[in-house]
Amino acid sequence: MPSVPAALVPGTVAPVPKGPDGSDADDSGRTIIGFFCRECAYAAADATGNARVPLPTTVRSVLMPCTGRVSPLHVLSALAEGADGVFVAGCLEGQCHYREGNLSALDRVAFVQRLLESVGVEPERVQMFTMSANDSPRFVAATRRMHATISGLPRLSRR
């Protein structure tokens, strides 16, 4: 059986594009993890890729069955292990395929934001966006906005 390149397997992280000198192609060097709902945001991301719309290379996608699966630990461990920002992209309010997973995710993101605020970390490092499956422009806007927010913040220091 021919081996499938890792980048083509849904849900795996695509290899980081490298610049000519072997460094990250994106000069800001930051990493943003996006948790995408399979029913909407991931489909929107797919459509964006098929349309060859350029996206910030800082964003790495993680496929989730529903944003309701995203727990505060997913978000915090991403930040602790090297991400400078995390965003969760799910279905529009009232359009969750599992009733209200996106609303749970919204509140969990708010919880993590308050947690970060209480220890002096900028809460805008963690954000939630909603979109429908065919709304590729909204996905691009969310990704670019997240990239702009994180680029404007200092690198997240770790102990």
Binding site: P72, L73, L76, D107, R108, R114, L115, V119, G120
Partner: protein, 150 residues
Amino acid sequence: MPLTARGREMLGSLPGVAPKTATDGIGCEIVRHEELCIGCGRCVKVCPSAAIAESALFDPLQLYDAPAGTTRGALGACLRRIARHEPDGSFEVPDRVRTFRTIEFDRDRCLGCGACTRACPTGAVTARPVDGADLGCLAATRSFATAVSA
């Protein structure tokens, strides 16, 4: 465990059961292991005497105190790595986050029925039989207390 006035009243309403003294207990002593509590509030919902209350306020310091190997412990370890300073006080947990509640246990209102022990998903509430309590015809309660504390 001494019975509350309400406990004595409830016990007195059972046929053939009357507490002899104010210090007669009906069941077990509830022991809470706060480090294992995830603040889900299941014990609050099942408590028949409203001895357990929950509040939506959460103190992030609880994450730092949680034992390693638990989700809270892992959250605390992650938070410690990125924290710029010690957590500064409690905040309100959003409605749909169903854990991270602060649980308050009022020992004086507790009947020792053990309902919270069965409802707890993490084993943070255990029960043990009260030593030397005159349980009389409540031997069944006592054997339950022994069973749940084993």
